[in-house]
Amino acid sequence: MRYLPLTDDDRKAMLKVIGAKSADDFYGDVPESARLGGQVAGLPDHQGELAVERHLSKLAAKNRSASSGPFFVGAGAYKHHIPASVDMVIQRSEFLTTYTPYQPEIAQGTLQTLFEFQTQVAALTAMDVANASMYDGSTACAEAAVMACRVTRRKKVILSGGLHPHYAAATRLLCEAQGLEVVHLPVAVDGEMALAEAVDDQTACVIGQSPNIFGTVTDLSAVADAAHEKKALFVSVFTEAVALGLVTPPGEMGADIAVGEGQSIGVPLGFGGPYVGLFACTEKLVRQMPGRLCGETVDADGKRGFVLTLSTREQHIRRDKATSNICTNSGLCALAFTAHMTLLGDKGLRDLALLNHEAACDLADALEAVPGVEIVTPRFFNEFAFRTPMNAEAVLAMLDEAGVVGGVRASRLFPAEHMGDVIICAATECTTPEDIAAYAAALKEIV
């Protein structure tokens, strides 16, 4: 067995040192009825590397990769180009095969990258501080809601109708389990501002998204003002981190907490995970934050160094009184984010964001020219929704036959709404003029 270094002679010698007859001796506490005679039945034996590679490659070949043709799916995960050097950095053994940096003397590599990550996320969102990452955007959103309830000692959370429905579901689940009330405003393409009307004296926070699930970008400053007037918090959500290079970031709108998905920068699509949740807030809320934080300090020689800090918020110290049950962050994905962000810099990020917006504008122009197609997203970054004269599911299936993966039907995201004719599509820097032409041509044939 290629991963097991012990030889039979080793095992015998070790058993002798221990004074045991066989490995069975160690399992003496297992109840009789739960002892297996041999290995678990119904499962195959070990295989060589070649056989495993063949089997998995066969499964992989049954999937259509986003790079294999015109591809326009977004809705919370985006197809962006990842520089080769980013993947090389995260495959370095020293980052890949290490643990949470609880022993800072031999983890300064991880800790310094987390410190850089926190600084980058704070700058990107225009917030005071950021943590060292969450599982993903949806769980970050749920944690923000319960954090807001802790901070305000109120029990009502209001979600916009443009919030990603998976984020809304994850947030509702965690809140309701804790006895918190969740009000979900009616689903709307351009309805984020309704939060300003809905906030009241019982509200802990309002949660709005820009760009929202339909791609609509909105300056939510008035929502923040309305929330603050009622002493509630404003949680600003995004699912497309690249957008923040161009559109108004949470901090400029007066957000108290900013949460979002960082996948777009450095992390592959990977069928939905692992991704990296971004979580930032104002300075005064930092001690109520969930998740890990990395801070600067000095070592015994007075040299600058970094450590995990404020851990008295966390479960391994506070147990049932912790701010969250979270034990891991998304360390390696955070590193990918940081390495990619470091390649981009401010200029690269802004150019990348512009290229995304321009590709989406070109796509909108091309699709709008198809008779019967109506773009319903009024203002957008790199994603928008459009209405077709036919059932969206049928349109997407026919586009698929033409080799175009045309987007996500709104009815998959909102099964209870009557949105059977709406498709949400995204374009990025990976989208070529040929891809757009192929989409428009195929759509014209269909509708």
Partner: protein, 523 residues
């Protein structure tokens, strides 16, 4: 004798390394390296993008006002930056990492290669299901392995990490109680004092109250206390128990515990963090478990990545399966795989959705590659070798350190600090191990053992490695017993000395800020 390039022997000198100052701040191969904010500029970029046309027409004026100011680096600078930082990290690929309860085993590179196949790495979670049949099949295949290895009928694949899996299990219990009409009355969850901190934190996140049970002198659940706690039954939601437990011991009375909790009308959540000790040898479903998360990053060797991402599929009993979270994969009669995403039909009793999309696919690929490589025979050997290695360490060190409990351990050996002289702490022993070239063991956990030192070798270490480690630790333990004060200063040979954590917490500095008068330092 070392030779220089002219072939002349170099002369030994008597200068101590600590006396040598360098202009650069580097120390030989250990290069000095600042933060990116100190070495990059906001005009530098390491990507070559086409020039944008600066069209912002459809943004509707919702535009960023203040630039991020973030610095960029060219590719060679970026690569060198992170390579230099990497040299300050300890890693499994570099050496022995006996961190108890964390299962730091070798991460096969085949798994990395498989996860990067475009058919897995470059597919979108919301693209049409007809175009991702291989991905759904892979999830189903891994699910089948997990269900069979645990003898449980259902597995929720979407939890993002171990603690998230705990949340899945406890939310399923909550939903089952609601379905029974007892959601408001059954709020008490029993949790041993030795549990991982995530257990009580998770219970509270789900609206439960934690009732702590103590360990007995053998490191197992105190059954008398448990029975006493279960005298009142109408408020009992369940128990959260780690098995093998955090003391590295199999819970001898586990079946009786399961029976007692079921008789009380509660459910049995088993924390599967230590599954590595029993995988392929004991099936938790045979022990009366109702829910158990499996840390793919522990037992099935997906890389820890400096603290995540993890993955925490959670197996559920027949009693809890109807309440499992969406989405999940089903195989239809025609052989087509589909995702159940909506809470109707077979998911009508589901407790809901925990997360966007379908779970940690990248970890599923790696875990399945690991599982197929081992097979049922190899996984059994994994557990046996992990347990053998731990007992070997326990046997070699019991004469110089203080075993916390008598008898054989499972996959990790636990010692208390009773053998140390006054003034020498577990922390000092841990830090001295760093100078010996090892990652320290887990320290001060579990909380039920004073100055706990928890050593988990895993099955991927050779006998020679264990022998060398035991020799190092034995020497340190003897120094600790003699009160050797030099231990207080360890580590001496690491990239950094002990760090001032008090200072970090008192006035937190959580991001880089430009020195006054500068926005980006290198501008």
């Amino acid at each position: 004798m070392t030779m220089n390039t002219q072939g002349r022997p170099t002369a030994p000198t008597s200068t101590s390394v600590s006396d040598i100052e360098t202009v650069s701040g580097s120390r030989g191969l250990l290069q000095a390296e600042g933060l990116i904010f100190e070495i990059g500029t906001s005009e530098t970029t390491g990507v070559d993008l086409p020039a944008p046309k600066n069209r912002t027409g459809r943004l509707g004026g919702v535009a960023r006002k203040v630039p991020t100011g973030l610095p960029g680096l060219s590719e060679p600078e970026m690569v060198r930056h992170y390579m230099r930082l990497s040299q300050r990290n300890y890693a499994i690929d570099l050496g022995f990492f006996p961190l108890g309860s964390c299962t730091m085993k070798h991460n096969p590179r085949l798994n990395e290669k498989m996860a990067r196949l475009p058919g897995f790495g470059d597919i979108h979670p919301m693209q049409p299901q007809a175009t991702v049949q291989g991905a759904l099949e892979l999830i189903d295949e891994l699910a089948t392995w997990l269900k069979t290895l645990t003898n449980m009928p259902f597995v929720a694949m979407s939890p993002k990490a171990g603690a998230h899996g705990e949340l899945a299990g406890m939310l399923a219990i909550r939903q089952a109680l609601i379905a029974r009409g007892e959601g408001e009355t059954r709020k008490r969850v029993l949790v041993p004092a030795s549990a991982h901190g995530t257990n009580p934190a998770t219970a509270v996140q789900c609206g439960f109250e934690v009732d702590e049970i103590k360990a007995n002198a053998r490191g197992r659940v105190d059954m008398d206390m448990l029975r006493a706690k279960l005298e009142r039954t109408d408020d009992v939601a369940g128990i959260m128990l780690t098995n093998p437990n955090t003391c590295g011991l199999f819970e001898t009375d586990i079946k009786e515990i399961a029976d007692l909790i079921h008789a009380a009308g509660g459910y049995f959540y088993c924390d599967g963090a230590n599954f590595n000790a029993i995988v392929g040898r004991v099936r938790p479903g045979d022990l009366g478990v109702d829910a158990m998360h499996i840390n793919l990053h522990k037992t099935f060797s997906t890389p820890h990545g400096g603290g995540g991402p993890g993955s925490g599929p959670t197996v559920l009993s027949q009693a809890l399966a109807p309440y499992a979270p969406v989405p999940f994969v089903v195989k239809n009669e025609d052989g087509v795989y589909s995702l159940v995403e909506d809470m109707d039909g077979e998911a009508s009793e589901s407790f809901g959705r925990m997360v966007a999309f379908h779970g940690q696919m990248g970890m599923f690929v790696r875990a399945l590659a690991y599982i197929l490589s081992h097979g049922a025979d190899g996984l059994k050997q994994v557990a046996e070798d992990a347990v053998l290695n731990a007992n070997y360490i326990a046997a070699k060190l019991k004469h110089v350190m203080t075993p916390a409990f008598e008898g054989y351990c499972m996959h990790e050996a636990l010692f208390s600090d009773a053998f140390t002289a006054d003034g020498i702490e577990t922390l000092d022993i841990a830090k001295a191990l760093i100078d010996e070239g090892y990652h320290p063991m887990t320290m001060y956990f579990p909380l039920v053992v004073h100055g706990a030192m928890l050593i988990e070798p895993t099955e991927t270490e050779s006998k020679a490695t264990l022998d060398q480690f035991c020799a190092s630790l034995e020497s340190i333990a003897r120094r600790a017993a003699q009160g050797d004060e030099t231990l207080k200063g360890a580590p001496y040979l690491a990239p950094a000395r002990r760090l001032d954590e008090t200072r970090a917490a008192r006035k937190p500095v959580l991001k880089w800020t430009a020195p006054e008068g500068e926005t980006v330092a290198a501008e």
